[in-house]
């Protein structure tokens, strides 16, 4: 099943952390990254990865329905680059049927 914010918060609470604190920590963590990216600044989290902004140049595209050429404007898109450690761990990851 998909893991949500709620699940992350619950797991922290189960370890004996106060509910409000757990909730705020998860939310602040997310807000920090969002704010930083919106300011145009990358976020580096050691052992996890880096959230970066990729600059996309403007380019010609086509409307697949009409075939008309359209100019796709330059834009900035957020992206995530996993750390080596995270990549390594995911690579070895436990497959679905080994799960308990």
């Amino acid at each position: 099943m998909t893991v949500t914010k709620f699940k992350l918060v619950k797991n922290v609470i189960d370890l004996g952390v106060n509910g409000k604190v757990a909730k705020r920590t998860v939310q602040t963590f997310i807000d920090c990254i969002v704010d930083s990216i919106k300011r145009g600044e990358k976020v580096q989290i050691s052992g996890f990865g880096t959230f970066i902004i990729r600059e996309k140049k403007e380019r010609m595209g086509r409307n697949p329905k009409t075939g008309a050429k359209v100019l796709i404007p330059a834009k900035r898109v957020p992206a995530f680059r996993p750390s080596e450690m995270l990549k390594e761990r995911i690579k070895k990851g436990v497959s679905a049927n080994e799960r308990k």
Partner: protein, 90 residues
């Protein structure tokens, strides 16, 4: 911005000491990674979704020596940005 900046903000918003805030952040990160390792999809509403995708085995080549070496199937992590992240000022 780096991890310690986030820890500082967490300490401010929760009233925890920086040391404790750091611990809670570590627990959350470790928790996130362990779910991804298990192949679970991690969806943080508004922020984005992390998930692992299976890549098949393929044969690669060492361009220097021209030897072929098989690459085993592996899992690679993907991140899809959510709507809050996508609203970027140009």
């Amino acid at each position: 911005m780096v991890r310690s900046d986030i820890v500082k903000k967490v300490a401010e918003s929760t009233g925890l000491s920086k040391g404790d805030a750091d611990k809670v952040v570590s627990i959350i990160l470790e928790n996130m990674i362990s779910y991804l390792e298990k192949g679970e999809k991690l969806e943080l509403r508004g922020f984005g979704t992390f998930y692992a995708r299976q890549r098949g085995a393929r044969v690669a080549r060492n361009l220097k020596t021209n030897e072929t070496l098989p690459l085993p199937p592996r899992k690679v992590i993907y991140f899809k940005a959510g709507k809050d992240l996508k609203v970027l000022s140009k």
